[in-house]
């Protein structure tokens, strides 16, 4: 299968301090790639390279080649790139609007005005994230009144309203309770059929449960990549073995 995202020799630095060095990575289409590694190893930085957010930040330099479906992301228009690559943050940040408006915000911005089309899109994305039955009767309710897990699913739904090809998630479960984590994990496994998913997680058990491909970073270097089961069963590198056995992290 052709990779949808390819990174070649990607390095990044904040204020001259290197955060990533020489990353070569392929993200396979319609699979879940989990990025793991100790805190401060550059997981989130790597994720933010993939949708170009990092390229826009001041005092940050990014070098190397990042391609989405073969096209250099630097040559894409900012909003096209953002529509094709969605990003969900660690803390759920629904806009201070109603549930409905949260989901129509981006589509309206991108020119969908037809009420019926918007209604259908809201329903479809809510169904995808399994939130529709829970909120269908009060779509006009403030999104901030939802529980943390529901808010995070709403944020995933909001990212999906832009119809992305790739969905990036930055530790989406770290602020949630066990039950919500389960719901989100099974959601991600379902989403894999339609979307390419890249998730940063510090929860090794989570990576083990859902990852098709695992990427292990340490100190801004890519140490090892492998498919999920075999990586966890038998990591090749000493560093990865030490990390998995809990010697550092």
């Amino acid at each position: 299968m052709d990779p949808i995202l390819t990174l070649r020799g990607v390095s990044a630095a904040y204020d001259g301090t290197p955060a990533l060095t020489g990353i070569d990575l392929d993200i396979p289409e319609r699979q879940i790639t989990a990025i793991i590694g100790p805190s401060g190893c550059g997981k989130s930085t790597l994720l933010r390279c993939m949708d170009g957010l990092l390229l826009e930040e001041p005092d940050t330099s990014v070098s190397g080649d990042i391609r989405l479906d073969g096209t250099d992301i630097r040559s894409l228009r900012r909003e096209d790139l953002r529509r094709r690559v969605g990003l969900v943050f660690q803390t759920p940040t629904p806009f201070p609007f109603s549930i409905y408006r949260n989901l129509t915000y981006a589509p309206q911005y991108y020119g969908i005005r037809d009420k019926k089309a918007l209604d259908a899109l809201v329903r479809e994305t809510l169904e995808t994230v399994g939130l529709y039955d829970e909120v269908k009767d009060d779509l006009q309710k403030s999104a901030r009144k939802l529980s943390g897990g529901q808010q995070q699913r709403l944020c995933i739904a909001r990212a999906l309203t832009a119809r992305p090809e790739v969905l990036l998630l930055d530790e989406p479960c770290s602020a949630l309770d066990v039950k919500s984590i389960q719901v989100i994990e099974s959601l991600l496994l379902r989403l894999r059929e339609q979307y390419t998913i890249v998730i940063v997680t510090h929860n090794l058990a989570q990576a083990r449960r859902i990852a098709d491909q695992v990427v292990f970073l340490n100190d801004g270097r890519l140490v090892e990549t492998g498919d999920g089961p075999s990586f966890f069963a038998a990591p090749q590198q000493e560093e990865a073995r030490a990390f998995l056995s809990g010697e550092f992290g």
């Binding site: 909003e79 940040t93 309710k141 944020c155 909001r158 832009a162």
Partner: protein, 291 residues
Amino acid sequence: MRKWIDRIWSAAVVLLTALAVLALAFVIYFIVREALPTFREVPLRDFLFGSRWMPIDYTGSTSFGIFHFILGTLYVSALAMLLALAVSLGASLFLSCAVGARTRQILYPFIDLLAGIPSVVYGFVGLMVLVKLFLKAGVHTGSCVLAAAIVLAVMLLPYLVSSCSETMLKVKCRYEGAADALGIDRWHFAATVVLPASFRSILLSMILAIGRAMGETMAVMMVMGNANLFPTLLGKGETIASVIALEMGTAVAGSTHYHALYAAGLVLMLMLFLINSAIGLLRRRFLREEV
């Protein structure tokens, strides 16, 4: 020992709080007590809705009607508020959403500085610059409600900008990433997320500002012309605060004139109280329906 220190400490805090509350209570009591005798001689309706203010009987009968002063106060405050609100919303959005932290740190002190300029200086500048400009533009004598509103608007700016931009900055930091990840343009984000989400604190800052606006005496007095006329945009007008400031010194203590000025002060206080409660109610409604 420790216990005693705690006790003294809490007693001191209670005492100081009581002092503050008492001070307010005395002010209200004093104003009400001095105001009430007015209504033995002037019916309340004539006082509020009469438009003839003739406190001394040069020409026969005295008359105490503050209708024009009430209107003048409301007119100049509302107009100033409108002008200040438009400018400060723009400035706050600019400060919170358009510039970086470094520029913000340079610009903030300038706005805070506006709050530190004495009002007589504002009045003086208004008189020397604005009134002259209005004169040149063909307004008789130059002094007018609009000139006063402009001067007042500048005085209100720091109050509005500092609290609005603070909230807007918080809102922006919180939702910026989410909007950015959706590819939303910065200005669209500012207009559709930051502005509505800051609505409540905009109302709060309006409470602060309207109090300042309606009570402001010196600067307004210097440029508004102080004539007991029905206030029009380019005509002279007089506010309650100005009447009190101008006439209190010459009013004979204990005369109806003296009491009427206190009554005017009471009316001003009640107006302010009503407006503040209205904005407060509005704000609470938005708190409940916050979406």
